[in-house]
């Protein structure tokens, strides 16, 4: 494992430095590396920090304002000043094209090719190289969009053109146009970044494939990521969920809720029977991004979340965060606001002798005075009581978010294990599980890098979709097969081209379905191979069932509508990750004892994680420390170390 400083001018250099360092440290020849898996937030940052390339949008005549109007709703019911996010591509860079397709794919007005050629030439003159094309009903008939791309190839050959019918051929023009625009906006940055990374790898003697993590929980080839860049936008937390899915299958009967708690936010994901939930209704910065992605719920609660008193006299925590700079007061970097980390430190839950940068320890006094000044004194209570209050409130906030992701969708938390990781997750996991009535908590071996390790479990996954709207009762299996066939051929060809063989390729069909008249869909698997009527009957039956489970009701007598057909083409990668060898003991000596506050201060044994071998077991209270996290086990709970090195905490021991 290696950590290197970032290189903001070209983030690829930092990645290369890190890879070189790891190789050197492990004594591996660069030539021996045949696979580089990479997760990146370059696209996300470009978008959120509005540093994306100047991009033009081509739309159907009469519909220049699709991006400005959006869904005409405002983001906050009562806040006059909470604005809709500005159009992703400004109106001045939006060009109407004379053409019109009808809902059934018929051409009402042919494409004015001369006008397109003029627009292409104009953009070339203006030096705009990134172009999004999203025409009405292009999901049904992409001919005009395809023609526009051809014209650009001649008139503006340097332009990177994204077609809505390629990136997301599904109905609902605002969502499709936004998704297309996001792809066009981040593409130049990703293109440049991955190109430098590939070049750099080659120069370092690494000829292995570069694969990039995407938000669907799989990886794609760098070449594909350079054209479908929007797929990398939500890839950040996906690795952690994959790790959760892997662990759930081994240690938790498949049902896990992952809690990835970092400095500013917490990502929560529900994994049922070993598989995370997917959604194609993601949003970033208020913009819809309708590409399949793991369904992750994020809230503004983390170690850096700031505690404050509001005008009604309630103690609040977050959503504002001290971040990494200035960070919690105890970092001694100038932060004066009391944070969750300060509260944990004050209560002895974190080791004050934790080195931070060039400092030897965390500053207990600064933490104490921040909590005293901002919370305890105004309330007239002891700083310790205030710190305890801060933790109670932040745990309640997270508990509420977990309930939204589980109970509100019809899941029973008693059937789930909480997997807590990220820098702060292991500190809060046990308390949270107890609050929620969850029987068990798993702390993975390396909580701080769980996301990166999770990526090692990823396969190449390519997602395709087509809108096809019809009643499930009326659709003929042959038509569906034809639609799936097209996507399957495309997926397979791509994977074969990427070097997979037939035996490594898995094609998973699914479909978005709803009761006729609804406006939200549920995605369900569809059998592969030759489809027959009984297959569709089974899909229908499972729709009623899943609808009932998720929403509490099903209507056997109602018509079901097919909306979108989806295909995931998966290329299985060989998993070579070996769990670390344990050199610890089953009955290690505590490294020390420390006064830790539970319902009162208790002199608590502190263990080093590396001292624990599989088979280690004890009853709380206890603290387990490791370089990247601290695990807290309450009295009345038990903890043990399993074969893989995970810590399993049972919250209710009789």
């Amino acid at each position: 494992m290696a950590k290197v400083s970032s290189t903001p001018n070209n983030p690829a250099f930092a990645v290369l430095n890190g890879i070189k360092k790891v190789i050197r440290d492990c004594g591996v020849e660069p030539g021996m590396i045949n696979l580089v898996l990479h997760g990146t937030t370059v696209a996300t940052n470009a978008l959120l920090e509005q540093r994306a390339a100047i991009t033009a949008l081509l739309t159907t005549e009469g519909f220049r304002d699709i991006l400005s109007i959006g869904r005409q709703n405002r983001p906050h019911l009562y806040d006059f000043r909470a604005l809709k996010p500005p159009p992703l591509i400004p109106r001045r860079h939006t060009y109407e094209v004379k053409e019109r397709m009808l809902y059934n794919g018929e051409i009402m007005t042919p494409l004015d090719e001369t006008q397109v050629a003029e627009t292409a030439a104009l953009l070339r003159r203006k030096g705009i190289f990134s172009v999004a094309v999203s025409l009405l009903h292009a999901y049904k008939n992409p001919r005009h969009e395809v023609r526009i791309k051809e014209i650009f190839k001649i008139k503006h050959p340097g332009a990177l053109v994204t077609l809505s019918s390629e990136i997301m051929p599904e109905f609902r023009e605002y969502e499709r146009t936004c998704t297309t625009a996001i792809n066009a906006l981040v593409r130049p940055k990703i293109d440049f970044y991955l190109e430098s990374l590939e070049t750099g790898l080659k120069e370092s003697g690494i000829n292995g494939n570069l694969l990039v993590m995407h938000s669907g929980g799989g990886v794609l080839t760098a070449a594909r990521a350079r054209t479908e860049s929007a797929r990398t936008v939500f890839s950040g937390p996906a690795g952690g969920v994959l790790a959760g899915a892997g662990i759930s299958r081994e240690a938790a009967s498949g049902n896990v809720i992952t809690l990835d708690m970092g400095g500013t936010s917490t990502d929560i994901c529900l994994i049922r029977k070993g598989a995370p939930g997917y959604t194609s209704e993601g949003e970033i910065g208020g913009y819809p991004l309708r590409l399949p992605m793991i369904d992750i719920h994020t809230i503004g609660a983390g170690g850096g979340s700031i505690a404050w008193l509001d005008s009604g006299g309630a103690l609040r925590v977050g959503p504002s965060s001290a971040g990494a700079s200035p960070g919690p007061a105890c970092y001694g970097l100038g932060g004066t606001e009391p944070t969750v980390t300060d509260a944990n430190l004050l209560l002895g839950r974190i080791n004050r002798f934790t080195p931070l940068g060039d400092k030897k320890n965390l500053d207990l006094e600064l933490a104490g005075s921040a909590i005293a000044e901002k919370i305890a004194k105004p309330l007239g209570i002891e700083p310790g009581a205030a710190a305890k209050g801060i933790l109670t409130v932040v745990n309640a906030n997270m508990a509420r978010a977990v309930r939204v992701a589980s109970i509100q969708r019809g899941h029973d938390l008693r059937e789930y294990t909480l997997m807590a990781f990220g820098g702060a997750g292991p500190l809060h996991g046990a308390a949270l599980a107890r609050e929620l009535g969850m029987p068990q908590v798993i702390i993975p071996r390396f909580p701080g890098v769980t996301s990166a390790l999770g990526m090692l479990q990823a396969d190449v996954r390519l997602d395709f979709s087509r809108t096809y709207i019809d009643c499930l009762e009326d659709v003929t299996p042959a038509i569906l097969e034809r639609y799936y066939g097209v996507m399957e051929r495309e997926g397979k060809e791509n994977l074969l081209h990427d070097g997979f063989n037939d035996s490594q390729i898995i094609l998973n069909r699914s479909a978005d379905l709803r009761y006729a008249g609804q406006s939200c869909e549920i995605t369900l698997p569809v059998p592969g191979g030759t489809l027959a009527r009984p297959d569709l009957d089974r899909v229908r039956a499972s729709f009623h069932l899943v609808h009932k489970q998720q929403y509490g009701w099903g209507r056997e007598d109602s018509k079901i509508e097919l909306v979108n057909l989806r295909l995931a083409a998966v290329g299985k990668l060989t998993k070579t990750f070996n769990p670390p060898v344990h050199e610890g003991s089953v009955m290690p000596e505590p490294s020390c004892f420390r006064k830790v506050y539970f319902s009162q201060y208790v002199n608590t044994p502190v263990y080093r994680r590396e001292d624990l071998a599989p088979g280690f077991a004890l009853r709380g209270p206890a603290v387990v420390e490791q370089e990247d996290a601290t695990v807290l086990i309450f009295g009345g709970m038990s903890v043990e170390c399993d074969r893989e090195g995970n810590l399993i905490i049972k919250t209710e021991v009789r």
């Binding site: 304002d65 400005s68 869904r71 709703n73 405002r74 019911l77 009562y78 006059f80 109106r91 009405l136």
Partner: protein, 584 residues
């Protein structure tokens, strides 16, 4: 309020109670049958003290903000807790008690912990149909409430856990969509059950006495926050009035007047001076009017204020009986939420603008602009009905332009995608966009209105439009100009025919209907607007070069880059100022 509640318990229980209301809402939306509830979320759920004081609510539309605090208290007057027992549920929809309109059916259940009543839970949901003279029970021409559907006084629909099937049968017999009615009633009962379960969990976990204490504390908490915000308002008396352009039957203007009196940490709102109630169904029941008051106050104080009894305590409202804002039985009320609620809110913001100009907006598009096209689809032979409400310009604020093309104030429903309209109805959308130059000019510009042009593809379609701000522009503030009025017209070939703001008529095939919604008013003098910002609007085509000069006094060079001619701008702005100072 001399006690000091524990700030941690307060925060934890406040959140827990809020999540009880939210989980009830999730349960209701999950289990309801009608699109009104499950897709549009025209429903609210709430937790009350046993005295009917609102403790926590999950409202999905601002209109319910005023209904939920009133309905349970009103019902308890008719049906006291002493006559209720465990496993009971009360049903009610009478607007003259609930304060809403007939389609909003409310279900109230007492919660007992160890035989002791500890709380009430309730929910309100807009049903698809409750009978009356038109499908959907929202006639635009009803003259008394009996034409709007079946009226249910507070009665037990469930007693000791047993449903009153006989009564439900009577009710279902009187609505057009009996199956959905049953489904939605079951969903509403299930939502209360969810609430009850969670309240019992809390009572078990924290103990009854602590729970009861903190039900009060949570309300006191909101009250403290509200009062501390109101205390910052300059004391004074501020009046404002504005008009509705007709009641659906005549086009006579109806006046709405409000006087807002601020002082200490309280606020007083008096609607004396408002027109007598209307013949048509635009009358706003007390509940709708109160919703507008609470909405406006929440928006100008703190949008994050928890909605409960506490924020209402420092607010005193006078709504004279027999007026447009508090009609007397049996006046029709179904349509108050389309236009009247928006105008009441405008009037309140106009009055509050005199006290706290930096916290309000200028007038916005001022209507939910209801647009309906219905007929028989010859392809399928089935009746179709396209219904949508259109947004427009938001009024500008001190320091910020109004939003373009957005729903304002009392509504926030989403639009229907063009692609969905065309695949679902025999309609073709020709144009859907912002209306350049429709935003009121100002240092901060009002938001732009929208235009939608729809061509009817089959014979015999009936078009029905209900919009406002057709004659009276959305006003600006602090020297800001007015937004452009709404407009509706028919296009047949090259002919166009202007239509009134509220109209219903049958149109021939391939005729187009164009609805332009009003823009928002501006804030501050347009001559104060940064020329560079005007240039940005010109570059985006939101303001024309002509209007830049005419309204903002900004001269744009004829080059392609829309450069500002600063010398000419200075000169023009000086001339404009002198012209303004010269008395007419």
């Amino acid at each position: 309020m001399t006690r000091n509640p524990d700030p941690v318990t307060l925060e934890v229980l406040r959140n827990a109670l809020q999540s009880v209301a939210e989980e009830m809402g999730a349960s209701l939306v999950r289990t309801a049958l009608s699109p009104n509830i499950k897709d549009r979320r025209d429903c609210s759920t709430a937790v009350y003290t046993i005295n009917g004081q609102l403790v926590a609510q999950a409202e999905h539309i601002p209109l319910h903000l005023g209904l939920m605090p009133a309905v349970v208290k009103a019902v308890l007057k008719e049906y006291p807790l002493s006559r209720m027992g465990e496993g009971d549920a009360i049903i009610i929809n009478d607007p003259y008690i609930s304060g809403s309109h007939l389609p909003d059916i409310c279900l109230i259940s007492p919660v007992y912990f160890k035989d002791r009543p500890v709380a009430l839970v309730a929910n309100l949901a807009h049903h698809v149909d409750v009978g009356g003279m038109v499908p959907g029970s929202m006639s635009t021409s009803a003259r008394e409430i009996f034409q709007e559907g079946i009226r249910i006084p507070p009665v037990k629909v469930k007693e000791g856990g047993r449903l009153n099937h006989e009564m439900l049968k009577v009710l279902a017999h009187n609505v057009r969509t009996g199956k959905e009615f049953y489904g939605d009633i079951y969903a509403q009962l299930a939502a209360n059950k969810t609430g009850e379960k969670r309240i019992l969990e809390l009572a078990g976990k924290y103990g009854t006495s602590l729970l009861l204490e903190y039900l009060e504390e949570v309300m006191d908490y909101s009250e403290r926050r509200m009062r501390s915000l109101l205390a910052g308002f300059p004391p004074g008396s501020y009046s404002f009035d504005d008009f509705l352009e007709g009641d659906g039957i005549t086009q006579n203007r109806l006046k709405i007047k409000a006087t807002v009196i601020t002082g200490k940490d309280e606020i007083f709102v008096d609607f004396t001076g408002t027109s007598h109630q209307a013949a048509g169904p635009v009358n706003a029941t007390r509940g709708v009017t109160m919703a507008c008051v609470y909405y406006a106050l929440k928006a100008v104080t703190d949008p994050e204020l928890p909605s409960n009894e506490g924020i209402i305590r420092p607010v005193k409202v006078i709504v004279p009986e027999g007026t447009l804002v508090n009609p007397s039985y049996p006046a029709p009320v179904a349509h108050a939420n389309i236009n009247t609620a928006q105008r009441i809110t405008d009037v309140l913001l106009g009055a509050l603008a005199q006290a706290v100009p930096h916290r309000v907006t200028a007038a916005g598009t001022g209507s939910m602009s209801n647009f309906t096209i219905g007929g028989i689809n010859p392809g399928t032979g089935a009746y179709y009905s396209y219904v949508e409400t259109y947004g427009g310009g938001q009024g500008a604020k001190d320091g910020q332009d109004g939003m373009d093309g957005v729903h304002v104030n009392m509504t926030n429903t989403r639009n229907t995608p063009v692609e969905v309209i065309e695949m679902s109805y025999p309609l073709l959308v020709r144009r859907y966009g912002l209306l350049p130059d429709s935003g009121g000019p100002g240092k901060f510009r009002g938001g732009l209105g929208m235009v939608r042009e729809v061509t009817v593809l089959e014979e015999g379609a009936t078009v029905s439009v209900s919009t406002e701000r057709n004659e009276l522009n959305p006003w600006g503030l602090a020297g800001g100009g007015a937004g452009k009025c709404s407009r509706c017209f028919l296009k047949k070939g090259t002919e166009t025919e202007l239509l009134p703001g509220k109209t219903t008529r049958t149109v021939p095939r391939s005729c187009s209907v164009v609805l332009e919604t009003a823009g928002g008013g501006g804030f501050g003098g347009p001559l104060e607007r940064e020329p560079g910002v005007v240039r940005e609007d010109v570059l985006d085509g939101l303001v024309s070069v002509e209007k830049a000069a005419e309204e903002y006094g900004v001269v744009i060079k004829p080059s392609g880059n829309a450069e500002v001619d600063y010398t000419a701008t200075r000169k023009l702005r000086m001339q404009c100022r002198q012209k303004k100072e010269r008395p007419l």
